[in-house]
Symmetry: C2
Subunit: 225 residues, 2 copies
Amino acid sequence: MSARQESMASLTTDVAYQAIRGKILSGEIKGGEWLREAELAVQLGVSRTPVREALGRLVADGLAFHEPNRGVRVGEWTIGDFNEIYDLRLLLESYGASMAATNPETDVVLLRKLADEMTNIAESDSPQYAHLTDLNNTFHHAILTFSGNSKLATILASIVQVPLVRLTFARYTRAELLRSMNHHREMVDAFEARDAKWAEAVMRSHLRSGWSAMQGFISVQHLDE
Amino acid sequence: MSARQESMASLTTDVAYQAIRGKILSGEIKGGEWLREAELAVQLGVSRTPVREALGRLVADGLAFHEPNRGVRVGEWTIGDFNEIYDLRLLLESYGASMAATNPETDVVLLRKLADEMTNIAESDSPQYAHLTDLNNTFHHAILTFSGNSKLATILASIVQVPLVRLTFARYTRAELLRSMNHHREMVDAFEARDAKWAEAVMRSHLRSGWSAMQGFISVQHLDE
DNA sequence: ATCTCCTATTTGGTATACAATAATTTTTGA
DNA sequence: TCAAAAATTATTGTATACCAAATAGGAGAT
């Protein structure tokens, strides 16, 4: 099982999936809206068939919901959902960090490089948030990979997913941003020391403080759109 | 998001999904075998369309794998996979147990009823293993529900899944079976005492001992078929 | 106003056709 | 003989057309 994944390069269906997913993530299609097969098909210039398969995948990964004989509609997320997601993320990622800390396969050099680069970006005058987000994703994903449990990254991807995408570093205060960067570097130190408990604790702090920072503007976001 | 799920009652596709899934779980279709669309379609007396959707769902929940322009084939599972799965199960279910212990919504009466009924069955002369398995699933699922995190049960279902289905209580020694029943009852005691740490510890013991019992005959299973 | 019936819309499913791709077999050429 | 090339075959991926069933919404009747 382990390695192979074959992430479905089958052109049309995949394009449709990515396109619709993008519309949801970007907010172009809002929560609760219907995803009409025919409409999307003409919009994307494909037939209903790949659209249906794409919708099936969106439903499968929890981004949308299927109502029999009615169709598929985009999911809506409450603060309670975010809370549940963050609790699980805390549980799984801190476990991953503790496992990665004692795994000899863990590439500490890579992680440090990522942490340092993120710090540089964050400390610049006008941080490139998009790049920062990419590096951050890479960093967290790498840790999960180094945990040695190949299922871990998959599961987390299926939980964390979409709804958090719009909550980016751009919303952090400067203090929050710098603290986040400090966490990254401290985590690498913990890995270097092969200290599982330390790594786990830093990851907990990191995610918890991130969640705390986000909670503020989630309600705002709900109000102004 | 929380409650609603709309578990797709759309006849044909669902029937196909269940049928193919059943063939995999029962071992009729073995790991590594191809799932041919046309073949399955005639076998099930439906067209290729619902078969394709069913295969998509099987791929989505990790039971099968897609190889572009080649088709879908049933996954193969190694002992390493089982290990990873059990580690995650331990993490998530013990978390669930600890949360359920202090949740006032937890229906201790129901759980005790289940635990007692399982004990009765296990202590009888010829235990009805199928019924025992059902009750056990209900018991574990109920705890996850009482954890208060609605995502927890979903995630676990997506991990534990299939590959473990064939590893049933029927393979347990009498001692292992009775110990498992003791764990269930002890867990209810921990819930009644609202002792999160206790509940968590019992769940850890429970799953770890179960995994230990299974490890033995997994290799056997691999050899004799 | 409420209930019933009708109609439009949309899904869920079938059937069929066909291009693209990968595997297999056959043929070719040294 | 045997490896490379070419032809054949099998199967997926997509499109298209069509139809039954279900739902929503509105017209009309009570």
